[in-house]
Symmetry: C5
Subunit: 354 residues, 5 copies
């Protein structure tokens, strides 16, 4: 289950800008990957000490520093000091429960958003916070743990296909955001498959577990909505920013990813509508099943209770009970009972209960 509020309580009372990691530690070690490129050159290395990449800050090449794992606060502190990042933003990086947002600090932009991916093993959606600092020659990205969402981007930088090697940091960040947003689509695809299966189930064989699954998907959609809704504004602000960091040519790509975000929001809303419809159908299916059970009970009981009563009558031990003496009494009673039973059956038939 998603935590909507992570353990912030340990932070309470500390002054603003205090760097305290809020959230569970998802990675064992912090891994720092540096990719440095321009139209011609390309270098990639993994470094142990964060200081090893500091000399790349002011080169004319684009430098992408990706830091996976947030629990070693001294690394983030050093990065903050060297790149002159505002302490409140570093606090946001560590507070892994941020609402997506973008902030323009003149020399650099700060973007925080949520990465979603489908965990096929646990069969549920997982979530991670990603933050970007975008300067004119560097992009610093923070992830909670390593993942393969950015791998296609790395590959594209390496083989130099497309515009990426010829473009600046704004295009790199666009590509990274686009990779994240593309993963939303995959998450929704999986969700749609689930919904289709549940729809089938609800109509053919609704069991309590079905409702539980519907409820889980509903919560997942509530969570996704909370993650994606503000992203729309973030990207729109990014596109319309007056910052010189974002070039004219990149805005058309941002508009594209903006459209995708809208489409995702639309789909989430649609899913929510469909899910709430599913709950209605589920409840009505349960109702119908009960109805059917009731009908069987009623038919059996209303046929046999009067008949048993008749049998009871002739089980009485009265001394003077004339019918008992008749030769054909037993057969007459059978005839009478059959008549009663059949006419009841016909009554139910007419009522469409049979």
């Amino acid at each position: 289950m998603f935590k909507h509020i992570k353990k912030r309580s340990k932070k309470t009372g500390s002054p603003p800008g205090s760097l305290i990691h809020v959230g569970e530690t998802k990675a064992e070690t912090v891994r720092i990957t540096v990719i440095d490129y321009d139209g011609e050159s390309y270098r990639k290395k993994e470094i142990q000490r964060i200081e090893d990449c500091f000399q790349l800050k002011d080169t004319s090449t684009v430098t992408w520093i990706n830091i996976s794992g947030l629990h070693q606060i001294e690394i983030i502190e050093k990065v903050g000091k060297h790149f002159e990042l505002h302490p409140l933003l570093l606090e946001d990086v560590l507070n892994t429960n941020q609402r997506p947002k973008i902030e323009d600090f003149g020399g650099y932009l700060f973007i925080v958003m949520r990465m979603l991916f489908y965990n096929g093993v646990k069969n549920e959606i997982e979530s991670e916070q990603v933050s970007f600092f975008v300067g004119s020659q560097y992009v610093i990205s923070f992830q909670e743990k390593e993942g393969d969402v950015f791998d296609p981007v790395r590959e594209r930088i390496r083989n130099g296909k497309g515009r990426i090697r010829k473009s600046g940091t704004d295009y790199l960040v666009y590509t990274l955001i686009d990779a994240i947003v593309d993963h939303y689509f995959i998450t929704l695809e999986k969700t749609e498959e689930k919904i289709d299966r549940l729809e089938e189930e609800v109509l053919t064989n609704p069991i309590p577990e079905t409702l539980q699954e519907i409820h889980t998907i509903k919560r997942e959609m509530i969570f996704m909505r909370k993650s994606v809704w503000p992203l729309r504004e973030v990207i729109s602000t990014f596109e319309r920013t007056e910052s010189l960091l974002v070039k004219e040519t990149t805005t058309i790509y941002l508009r594209d990813v903006y459209d995708h975000t809208i489409q995702i929001i639309d789909t989430i809303e649609t899913f929510r509508d469909v899910i709430s419809g599913l709950i209605d159908v589920y409840l009505s299916s349960i109702s119908n099943k009960m109805n059917e059970v009731m009908k069987v009970l009623t038919i059996i009981a209303t046929i046999f209770i009067p008949l048993t009563f008749i049998a009871g009558i002739y089980g009485m031990n009265f001394k003077y009970l004339p019918e008992l003496e008749w030769k054909w009494g037993y057969f007459a009673v059978w005839m009478f009972m059959l008549t009663v039973g059949l006419s009841m059956g016909m009554y139910f038939k007419r009522k469409k209960w049979l």
Copy 2:
């Protein structure tokens, strides 16, 4: 059932502008129809090679190139190259799950929307993506498969009735959009017929299949809403555009189709309200039926259970059971039973259960 998210996963990781067809292949072969006209002349031909129409690009006549079928990507690539269309837009054409939108690229406008038509055989609404590139002398339209929605427009161009032959590409696009929007009305007509039938059914003989059908219509309306809602903004932007491609005289027609869109949205909302009302009535009908079943059971059981008890009493084998010895005991018991039964019947009558 509509797919809200088409298999985009195969695209994940590819750079923006990659032309990959997302969605099922609905047509077997790609069919290219070119209509070239002005006030005096009219030519129509089907071509095999897309290059055959390229020379018409810069003539003073209006050229309408209609391409049905999207799976041959090289055709779209060639068109894109020759008409200098932005790769991101070509990607949108192929990604058949777009939210309706309009984009102004200076030299041309790009419009993508959704065509809906009622499949009388499968008894369901079908959907297809249509995209338009509108230049000053050409209109290029992409459909997923061939259809007859545009046939009346073709006919009108051919016989030269109305304003169409005397007007430019903006009026042609308006006519095409209008044809699509007109088909929405037909789809809604069919839906209204279904709703009327279901309303009848819900009140007279509600069965689980009724709910299932209501649920299907509900999903169809959710889907239509998703398709039409953004169209309103598209047409409104088209009308108020500063692009020189749209002439003053056309805006009044666009306002007309805008009004139609609003009316369709209104109707969809109304249908949604009516459908949710239907579900209430359905559930209550089910409840009522159960109530009726319960009443029958209760009446029979509460009348005969006490009577059976009385019969049981006189079926006991006690040695000293004085009533059994009485001559009129049996008849007295019958009298007593009748009294009990009738007074219960009267009680139920007073309770209005009978």
Copy 3:
């Protein structure tokens, strides 16, 4: 039942501005009434040929041409030609399913709205489309059939009371709109009476027909809302128009009718809330009735089933069944049964089931 979508399908494919009557023919013959007046003079006549009123177009008097019945398209065509009205607007007049709107064409204004009146015989709300063309010296109104909604206005023009004879076409149109809006109030009064009656019924004796009626009113309110909601904007646009056709002195009256429209919308929303509350109460009443039925069944069954079991015990034919031999066995059993029965009764009393 209201049709939300009238048979537009027969229009599909025809060029914009084609005059085709959409909707059922509600009147047998078209009736044309012309009233021509100014401060001093007053003339009223019914004409057979529409051409007979054309000479009044440019006189300095106010000319009101009222046309009831839309199925003779040539009349509308002639009016359109003579008064130079845009074909798209004439199409709207004939397409009797318009959303209320106002359009300013410079020389004249076009207003289309919906007239509602309560049919006491069928006990339902009926609806008709009314359109106005407002020029500087003429008002042309189109109705689907004759009605008496405008009669008080005609009477006021005739006897010259109030401002109407001294004012221009803008005031005349205001008066006509006001007459229509006043009829909305009457419709709502009738609806409120129905709701009050249903509220009574739901609490005292809810039957399935009650729900059906609630459902009908709900649909009526959905329909009214669809008719009135856009009217608010129409009147507001009319009031704030820059057209020289609307004089300063009339705007205050338009503000008044605007207020009425808001009040009607408020009331419709209130009714919707009340109706949805009624459905809740209805469902709960049904539930309560079932509950009561269940309780009777449970009480009777739980008292007599154990007693019948006891009687069954002593109905067994075992050879050695000591109690049967006792002299007071029968009376002891009765005592025991009474004790069981009474203690059950007390249990139910304590549970508040009795």
Copy 4:
């Protein structure tokens, strides 16, 4: 119950500005109270003829004319003529079903709003329309009947405490509106008490009357909301008006009463949420009670029906029924029955039905 639409039908067809009293006559005689004051002087008198106060119109003192009772139309006509008030506004005064609004007519402001007070005897909310005409030296207020809501204001004017004697008509009107809004709080207090009591009832002993009361409160809240919601805009317009009638120093007080209005709207919305929650809890309580009834029935029936069957077996009169001949047959059957009964009891215990 509140009437949402008062009998307007008798007005239908009359020209705008016709003075017809719409609504029930709530007062027997019309009572006119005139208070005339400035910083130094104070006079209060009740007058019989409305003309007696006309000479005060143009004095430099503030004159407050309060008219309780609307059914004597000639009084309102005279006031209108003497103070030159627009007939449409007088019509609004008489039409006691107005939506709260403010209108600026240059020389005077017109405000209409709704007064609510709690009738402790009938245990329900009552409502009355109040209208104000605010000139530079006079305030005319119309009430439907006499009430004590304005008494504290009268007292404050008399004893000259606070700013009221030193301020103009704008402050007087503010004070009157504030008195009315203060009464809304009292009404909500009473409602909250009712809701608390119903909440208690719903959880401990829900009966159909509880739902009925919830439904009544819901309707009251719908009505209050309709009365208060537009008031917010009225006061906001009053505060931001460009009219010279409202002095700078008064706006801060208007902002205060505006805040109160917002707070009332908030509270009404909160109550609506709480009430809809109550209905859920009520329905679920009913469901629970039914569940409990069902369980008792099921336990008794499922224990004794099989036992009765066993007793029935040995009540059969077969000639060769070996068990009947056994000496310990009867006791063996008892043992068997006890075993069956106890194991069923344990089953129910495990199912948590007992």
Copy 5:
């Protein structure tokens, strides 16, 4: 339970600006704490007489006067007089039911908001009103009772860590607001724990108390929403104020707390969605349990009622009842009964009732 409307009735009729304490007295004695500091100096004292701090008003140091307890109105009056605060604002301070708001009075700002904290003993959310007057060199804060929410701020001022000692009154107020908002997170954490527990309960063992708790959380969320929603606007206004009291450097911190507020609102909305989902699941669980009960009843009854009937047949005392004479009659009957019972069991198995 929260009171939404506190006993305002005692205020009704008093002139605006009357200082009357509305709400319960939460503290026994009023406690006044004065902290006076600048970059170098720091003094803290508790004073008995409010006059003792008046000389600090115009010093160049920042003076924070915290008053806990509102029932001694003369203290508030004196403060108001000395610091020249508007009587309406003092009235707001005492009226402990304010909607959060900010007001700019030129020389000082007034902020009122709600403090929430979780009472672990009563296991419920408690609430208190806090008001701030912010001058250029002083901050006066009013609390309803003493609490430890501000303690970390006091500690930070004392030890001079962070920016606080070097900043002005705007930063101090920001810190206080931030402390309050941080407590909202803790409250939501506790609520999330409760929701998780209830979710568990609803799925495994739903009892009426579960619903009651869900209902309580729902009410708490309604209350929190009412408290936090307007706060967003308050902080946003504070950030964008043109008042010279708020320095440029502080706005970035205000934006941070603004983000937190948005996040809290998001979370509340999410919780509301989740809670309403829980109610659905609860109701459906109850339904399921009933269904299960019904099935047991139906199975037992439908198997044994027919069998008892058969036993009843052979319990009849007819003289000529041939089967009774057969040697194997009894065993044949047993065979027949077993056949009937087993085939019913198989029927239920097929229906998936077993």
